[in-house]
């Protein structure tokens, strides 16, 4: 199971994503953004960070980099893609997912262990969660406010594209408490929180049982690895 991790100038969490994929039983392959060769991979991760310094808009320039035209092409043919934080912004800027992300409601960068509710498990990246399960995943972003037009929001909600919602409180003003959405095929998913930071005992978010022991992010990568193994 080969999962590519695209590295842009300014990517930050590509190393963590590679590690998470390995812990989930997959083989991670780093791919530089100037490459166009993504033929021999089974899925792709667009990692978090500050690609191209967040100049213009978060993810805007990365979305127009050489590899992204190939990613859009392959994603439309069914390649599973997970966009994390900056990767989510890139998916929106490239038009693979609907909506946009704006600065957090309170204008502050947020870094915290965030409770989320899993809304949809018929998805490559969430299949191993249970419906309505509450999970804990670190959130660290300055522009995580999800917005979309009224009609678009209705569609996102009505078609069950909301995969994750902020639970207990809405940290950044996202419409409908949206933390993550997918496309209609359930293969392309973007989320603001960082599942790759919740994959290993001692290094994850604080949870009720023990400090730094949250591993809910690993379930997300395992979902993809297992589903693709059975495909």
């Amino acid at each position: 199971m080969r999962i590519g991790v695209v590295v842009f100038p300014g990517s930050l969490d590509d190393g963590d994503a590679v590690r998470a994929i390995g812990l989930a039983g997959g083989t991670a392959v780093k791919i530089w953004h100037e490459s166009r060769d993504i033929e021999d991979i089974d899925a792709l991760v667009l990692p978090g960070g500050f690609s191209f310094g967040d100049y213009l808009r978060c993810g805007a320039i990365a979305a127009r980099s050489p590899i992204m035209s190939e990613v859009v092409h392959q994603a439309k043919k069914g390649l599973p893609v997970l966009g994390i934080c900056n990767g989510f912004q890139i998916l929106l800027e490239s038009g693979l997912l609907p909506g946009g992300l704006i600065r957090n409601r309170d204008g502050r960068f947020i870094c915290r262990d965030q409770k989320l509710k899993v809304e949809n498990t018929s998805n490559v990246w969430t299949s191993k969660f249970s419906e309505s399960q509450e999970i804990t995943i670190p959130l660290k972003s300055g522009e995580g406010g999800f917005i979309a037009g009224t009609e678009s929001l209705k569609k996102i909600e009505g078609e069950g594209l909301v995969t994750l919602r902020y639970s207990r409180s809405n940290p950044n003003g996202s419409s409908l408490d949206i933390a993550g959405i997918s496309d209609r095929s359930g293969r392309i998913m973007g989320l603001m929180p960082h599942p790759e930071h919740a994959v290993e005992l001692g290094f994850g978010p604080d949870v009720d049982e023990a400090m730094k022991s949250g591993q809910d992010g690993l379930t997300m990568f395992r979902s993809a690895v297992e589903m693709l193994a059975h495909a």
Partner: protein
Amino acid sequence: MAIVVVEVMPKKELLDPAGQAVLGALKRMTFPECKAVRVGKRFELHVEGQVSDELLSQAEEAARGLLANETIEDVVSVRVEADLA
């Protein structure tokens, strides 16, 4: 040399946290009368010679395709300004 100026603003119906932060500072400082602030962007695209209609429409296309994300922003102006420098 001419300059095509493109101005982009966050959509009116959306929250503009940057504008609100600036408003707060303005009220504390020299301009307490200020009721609202919205923060947008101005791009200056420098081109050789005269700006033809075709070039201007290319600039409009670039404004909508890259300089603005029309999900969250509006292109409010694409116009030619002479380069006085």
